[in-house]
Symmetry: C2
Subunit: 638 residues, 2 copies
């Protein structure tokens, strides 16, 4: 069958397709202007509003002073003030009524009272310091126009002008229908005991939070299993009650892919698939004049499909138009910042790509790092400082490329120390303590050698390493000397960590030392080249003259202690070299190998950086130290 609708549309086509096919909501509501518990902000006015009364509605004093007759002051000057007798003047506060027998107000600074008389030092003209009736708003004037988006200032104006209710466009009623046999309603399930293959339904949480930040509400409907008839019925009912219907998952080309058929059968398909990564499998239709959007299932895909399709749809329904900058508005960008990409990144030509990035400022330069490219990963979303949309014309982003980041976190990066180097749970625990001290800490786990290199290149404020020199058996010094040519770096020996072999609980494969790694029934997971732990393993292998090629899984890479040990915990590998703290955390067995010094290196020029200062103070914190000791395998040096 040939599709009768557009497929694989570009991001740039979305707005025009929506504008062609959708119209603003016609429903209206009348809202009170005097209720402090509801809000008019962001509502669209559906009528011209006319002032019911004047503001001010009486001649009002514009100053604190005395109401007088201007003719009584005609000859006043500082050298010879005029005396005005009792009864011919009246004290008025700012805003007070000036009775008709007076025609001006003289400021208190230009007067003095002696006995019962008022002395005036300067002549005032008729009408001086009196706000005439209707000065701000005259009765009958238009004070709000049809189509206007209401600001925080309108409510007070309407109420002051005697308008007690205004007609605005009704709120857009949106619902989300989660679908899928594998999905479990999170509100009805103890998520800790989910069966394999069962996925907690969390996209409704993501979507409702997005709607909240956009100023809309989302109703989450009961989830429905994979059944075209049930989906059909659910959509049919939803378009009766709602102005916009979102359907979860069912948009890929798998066996369950009947959403397209259901939508095409019930209404007019507008498009299927966006040339966007992630978020490609999104489709949209109009069913009984109501827009229906089928969203992809992965959380990051749901998110970017919401930004690119759901948000502009809400704009059309609300305002009849899509703003030029709708994408950055959808993302709720606090600011847009040009940054320098700190690592090379490859993208695909012909497809727009959303990057999640973290940022840091070192020596006045703002760097950004891409945190992940997986559509299924939620963690990088919460860690991201912002997002960058790479256009479909871009193929490669070499290290050093300038990319614009749409910042979503209210961060003043000036207080943020950038840490690159060895991955360490103790450092991860430190972040809260650094923040308590007014600083911030961003951790890039690039391995010990990566950290020292980045420090030499000026791409971070501090590095951390535990690098064994195979020639000398000494830690760190030789590596640091190679880069710290002018001896400008301070070294802090933070603690010693116990490294060893991490194996499954009960050590089922009876692994006792490094020699066991060559066994046929043993699969390892390794750390990335340049990490101190990898250097350690290679050193131990060379000491025992083991060829890495003999080891199953030697090229199987994990970039943090936790990720590596998790692979042992969940059956992907039998053993990994790692620190005791992680073995303890995951309830794994641990065979000690060496105790290594873990050093933090800070160029002296950065010692007064507010983030670095907070870091240096945080590592003296007693509570943090106690936490580290409890992790296991740490020996504090200070």
């Amino acid at each position: 069958m040939v599709a009768k609708y557009k497929e694989h549309i570009s991001l740039k086509e979305v707005a025009s397709i929506l504008k062609e096919n959708l119209t603003p909501l016609s429903k209206r509501v009348r809202l009170s202007t005097t209720d402090t518990n509801s809000s008019l902000v962001g509502k669209v006015l559906m009528e011209d509003v006319y002032a019911e009364r004047n503001i001010p509605h009486y001649p009002a004093s514009a100053v604190d002073g005395y109401a007088i007759c201007s003719s009584d002051t005609s000859y006043a000057n500082p050298a010879s003030p005029v005396e005005i007798p009792e009864g011919k003047f009246l004290w008025v506060n700012t805003g007070a009524f000036v009775p008709e027998r007076f025609d001006a107000v003289v400021m208190v600074e230009d007067t003095s009272v002696e006995g019962d008389s008022l002395y005036v030092f300067n002549a005032v003209s008729k009408g001086a310091n009196i706000r005439p009736i209707g000065e701000d708003v005259s009765k009958g004037r238009i004070i709000g126009r049809k189509g206007e988006l209401l600001t925080p200032f309108h409510k007070a104006l309407f109420a002051a002008a005697g308008v007690e209710e205004v007609e605005v466009r009704a709120p857009i009623k949106t619902c989300f229908i989660p679908t899928g046999n594998e999905i479990v309603d999170i509100r009805e399930t103890n998520t800790k005991q989910l069966a394999p293959g069962k996925v907690p339904e969390t996209n409704s949480l993501l979507l409702s939070e997005l709607f909240q930040t956009w100023g809309f509400h989302l109703d989450v409907l009961p989830l429905i299993p994979d059944d075209p008839e049930l989906l059909k019925g659910s959509i049919k009912q939803a378009v009766e009650e709602y102005d916009l219907v979102l359907v979860g998952a069912g948009t890929a080309k798998g066996k369950r892919d009947y959403s397209a058929e259901v939508l095409a059968e019930q209404g007019k398909m507008l498009f299927r698939w966006l040339r966007m990564k992630p978020g490609r499998p999104v489709m949209m239709a109009v069913v009984k004049d109501k827009p229906v959007i089928a969203l992809p299932g992965f959380p990051v895909s749901t998110l970017v499909a919401s930004w690119t399709v759901v948000f502009p749809t809400l704009q059309i329904l609300k305002r009849g138009d899509i703003s030029e900058s709708y994408l950055s508005e959808a993302v709720k960008t606090a600011k847009q910042v040009k940054t320098e990409l700190a690592e090379h990144y490859s993208t695909r030509q012909g497809i727009s790509e959303w990057l999640r990035v973290q940022c840091g400022e070192v020596n006045g330069k703002t760097y950004s790092w891409v945190t992940s490219s997986g559509a299924s990963s939620m963690m990088p979303l919460t860690e991201a400082d912002g997002f960058s949309l790479v256009g479909e014309e871009v193929l490669e982003l070499p290290k050093g490329s300038s990319i614009e980041v749409w910042v979503v976190k209210e961060n003043d990066w000036i207080n943020r120390a950038v840490y690159q180097g060895s991955n360490d749970p103790g450092i991860e625990h430190l972040v809260g303590y650094v923040r308590d001290r007014g600083g911030d800490l961003i951790i890039r786990s690039v391995g010990s050698l990566g950290g020292v290199t980045a420090l030499a290149r000026g791409e971070c404020h501090m590095a951390a390493c535990h690098l064994l020199d195979p020639k000398t058996g000494e830690y760190n010094t030789s590596y640091i000397k190679r880069f710290d040519i002018n001896d400008e770096w301070d070294r802090i020996l933070l603690y010693r960590r116990l490294q060893g072999l991490i194996v499954k609980k009960g050590n089922p494969k009876r692994i006792v030392d490094v020699a066991d790694l060559t066994r046929e029934d043993v699969v390892v997971v390794n750390r990335q080249p340049g990490s101190g732990t990898r250097v350690l393993l290679d050193y131990l292998l060379s000491q025992t003259e083991i060829d890495p090629k003999q080891i199953r899984g030697y090229d199987n890479i994990a970039v943090t202690h936790f990720d590596a040990a998790s692979k042992v915990a969940y059956g992907n590998a039998d053993v990994v070299v790692g620190i005791k703290a992680v073995a303890d955390a995951l309830d794994l067995d641990f065979i000690p190998l060496v105790e290594e010094p873990f050093e933090v290196i800070i160029p002296r020029a950065f010692l007064d950086h507010p983030g670095v200062k907070a870091f240096r103070d945080a590592i003296t914190d007693k509570v943090w130290k106690e936490t580290i000791i409890k992790l296991g395998g740490y020996k504090l040096e200070q």
Copy 2:
């Protein structure tokens, strides 16, 4: 008495004073992560959050395809696919559980099913297309850090990781206490029948809307009259229950000015008066460890004092710090735009000033106009496109100065036609109709001559005029020819308007023609030089050989028909020249003088401008035409 606290502080001192004297709120609450009707966005996390389970918690397929044993595919290639018999493969959707007897997933695109067998066209390695347990988040990992501001992404992450509740900083409880004998609670009063001197309390509406846009809630307490003892009692009670207390008015130096005494007596004063216009009379104290801010009474002063003092106070209480860009965050700036000031503006050195501005784009240049400088005027707030903060070092802003505008309205100015010229109620009614057609219209009432001049200078898209040539008795042509040198302007005769003498209902002064304006008992109000109505009056005076000096109030200026006629309606003048529509609207008597053509002039280069097109279509609208006719004194030409 010598004040023991800072007076007349600069805007720049506010943040440091707040940081020195305030600490973040210590109260905490636990919130659900699975409730789609509440939100975590913008909350501050008060604990490190650890994953309670892995994401994914089972080996999950990363694609739609078949789970297989990788060793069964070792020799597969497109030329000779391998056959895998029934029972040794299993269909898996993306995200589905991959049972332990399989160790890889082959994408559906790389397979075909024939009979009961699966044919695989490419070899896959162990673990291919399987997301290992804990790939996104491993159990025990930190997934939220103390001090972190939660984003729309956190809730779904927490819920997916089995964390059902998180501890966040409690919402900041703020109250507002309106004060003043002149104030009337708007919820308890029919505001249309207010006595002179009585002011409806609308600052609570403005403040609650501001709090709403900032994501906070404001409780409005009962208003209290001007009585130091009552104020003292109210503050005493409020600081027990609330984290931040706002007090309305009572901050100027009038007779009622006891707020300073009350605050100084009950707590520690932090400062009094800001070197800011408007909003100077603001003061702040700490009473029983709670910040108390006394706000000025005028609405614009309340607003800017809220931006500059209340918002950063909320930031400190919520996050322990004030962001660098707190002012633009308080204003809720959508974007910051450099504009060219279209009119000269004088400010005062040593004082920061907030300008309310409107903007328009003509020929690629963005212009801004200051709408008003009065602290008591609410209308210019709702009309403003944005605000501009003029630093205390600035004295004069000549026409053409570059000023940065913090835009608060979501406007795409590209669709906005800029109208300068004669003030006319018919045009004012047109705005909604222009908006209905996807355009926008900004009206600058600068008088007929001002409009034609601005058009010649390229500062608007259209002008409107009704300019009588005293020499020829003909309208508009001679003025237009003077500026439209190359004959590039189109003229649209919109309608004819009836001009006349507007007098009080019943014409108590028995005014019959222009000659009466010279009477001793008659005070006029005049329109500004360059307005068509002024030109008309001057023409009529010269015709009857009246010297303007003979007329009382000739220098008494109003810049719109409405403002001018209002002065007659509310007793500031006896007569004004103006159009019948306005006399009718204000229920005034009208003595006809002349019928004048009202023309709109548009350079042909702008005819296709989206705003101008919408305007040209809007003037053909039947409903608008009917409205105009109903206004009175209009005769339509088309």
